[in-house]
Symmetry: C2
């Protein structure tokens, strides 16, 4: 493997000294970039981008070519590759969110659920290998998965949503069934992330996109516990280096203390949390990643610079902060504004690392 | 006016002693009740229910007739009556959320926005008077409004949503314009709630349904500040009695300390917060209302009882807790399960008030 030229992101995740605050953007390979839209048009669909290593590599590299200030790359893929491999039949209808052909609502279907053969996800591992090669050591590559709870909501509901009533009903009426789904999914995710690490991922992130919809005690029982199992099961070193892990529960700012205890190296934060308060609450247990509201990138370079400076000042002096958005960049973002954010992070952050 | 036979709810809001924990349910007059669905069918539409005092009275009373354990009633109406009166043209399309004919996106349109003549909302005040008469003192009547931020999102976006990108873009790029909308709306809401109080509302609640979508500092600037203005402008006594106020920011559990400072008598809580921790954080500044996940009502009476008992135990001994859901009851709820919740609250709460 080639030598990593910029390991700022990895050092920040381990709370080691860095010269500035590293930065990347969730969904940085995405529809706000004209070059991405062109690749997607050529590929024909979102899933074709994910399932073809050449396309996945092409779009993963695009934001790095445009923005030399990015300190990390992330595998181009989707969290729903896992339930797809578990047999639920993922498909997309134009202009709508992802859907599944089958759902897990009947006890018999749920009891049949098993950890799938990782060969079904080989296209993901091939993409990781291909992207690592294409990166040539420019920045580290992040692998990722959805959290068991988040994946379970899709498997039970058959689609995305905002209230997850069927999944929650199962959580309270038949917790045994939901725990079977979550346990099977957690075991799958461990194998999935470890295979990504074996293929070349240098850090991993668990996206708990819908954990914030749960009641505080249900969050611990149905989401956090399973993320802890995953973190415990992860390969800790690869290529002679630590492979740090990031756990991100969107809407989970009330529960940071509990999140900081599960063994992950870093926590993702959305914009509802003041990052300075978050740092006080978690102490030196974890690094923090976040937390600009992506809507701010729709405003002006001056407003973006002011808000970036405010977050950096709130985190304050010292290491262990990875700048990011609090959620994926929206497709309506002017790429110039994304660039303004990256410049502001670099310019304003050096003072906090002296 | 007739004598109020059950003032448990009002006493709890003022943190005065009560014999048990009072309870009501957000959206208790709603689609989960067959009698409500029958009334709505007769009226022809949701808006016809709101705009006709007889229909509004009928559906407001329905849950009280079914559930003698309810300790409060709430005006049947909609938060969008206010932007409708401000000239935006509210309409509903079957099977979709509320929409507006006009939006506030152009500076010229925004500058023209003014506080409307309250005569446009007379149908709401008529409903309040009519409901008070029909109640005959059984339980208190709650009046309500949306918060300025929440109403502004509908006025700017023209519909409900989950990301509020246009409104947030305005917040960061042209805060002066958004502040004009919010200030005008706050002044309108003050007149609106005071007219409800004059017509007979015995407590008022401000629903900040979308405040939780804001970044922590933007929440204070664009939502909480304006709720504080409203609370300051409210009529404090009517019919010789205090008229308590409740402020509820859905998804705002991180900011309870700030909410407790604005002068409201009580805070609404959603299910993300542990109510015992919330009580510790706000001290004796405010009463707390909440916070069962309405999804739990889709499960079983046994699970409902267990979760109710858990919330009551977390709040612990003493007064100042009003039991409620953390959001409106869902239309898929079995009315028997709602009854099981009310019974559990009454049975399990007496021990904490001795």
């Amino acid at each position: 493997m080639t030598v990593l030229k910029n390991d700022t992101f990895l050092r920040a995740l381990m709370r080691q000294p860095t010269e500035y605050t590293p930065v990347w953007m969730m969904r940085q390979a995405g529809r706000y970039l004209p070059e991405y839209r062109a690749s997607r048009k050529t590929a024909g669909s979102f899933l074709s981008l994910c399932k073809n290593a050449d396309f996945a590599t092409e779009v993963t590299i695009q934001p790095l070519d445009r923005y030399p200030l990015l300190d990390a790359s992330i595998l181009f893929s989707d969290i729903l590759t896992v339930p797809d491999a578990m047999g639920l039949g993922l498909y997309f209808e134009e202009g709508e969110g992802p859907k599944f052909e089958r759902t897990l609502q009947q006890e018999a279907d749920i009891q049949k659920l098993t950890v799938p053969d990782m060969a079904k996800l080989q296209y993901v591992f091939d993409a990781v290998s291909s992207i690592r090669k294409a990166l040539g050591g420019r920045v580290p590559l992040i692998g990722f998965s959805g959290s068991p709870w988040t994946l379970a909501t899709y498997m039970v509901e058959g689609k995305g949503g905002t209230d997850f009533l069927n999944t929650k009903k199962m959580a309270y009426a038949r917790p045994d069934l939901l725990h079977h789904i979550l346990e099977t999914t957690a075991q799958t995710v461990i194998q999935y992330l470890n295979a990504q690490i074996a293929a070349g991922a240098q850090a991993v992130m668990i996206f708990d996109s819908w954990g914030g919809a749960l009641a505080h005690n249900a969050y611990k029982e149905f989401s956090l516990n399973y993320m802890q199992k995953i973190v415990n099961g992860l390969t800790k070193t690869s290529e002679g280096k630590a492979v740090p892990s990031i756990v991100f529960t969107k809407g989970g700012g009330l529960w940071l203390e509990a999140q900081a205890e599960i063994g992950a190296d870093a926590l993702g934060l959305d914009w509802a949390v003041d990052i300075g308060s978050a740092r006080q609450r978690v102490g030196d247990k974890v690094a923090l990643q976040g937390n600009l509201d992506p809507a701010i990138l729709l405003s002006t370079p001056a407003a973006i610079e002011r808000e970036v400076a405010s977050i950096l000042a709130s985190y304050g002096h010292g290491h262990g902060h990875i700048f990011n958005l609090g959620h994926g960049i929206t497709q309506w973002t002017d790429p110039e504004n994304a660039g303004a954010m990256l410049t502001a992070v670099r310019e304003h952050s050096r003072q906090y690392h002296q």
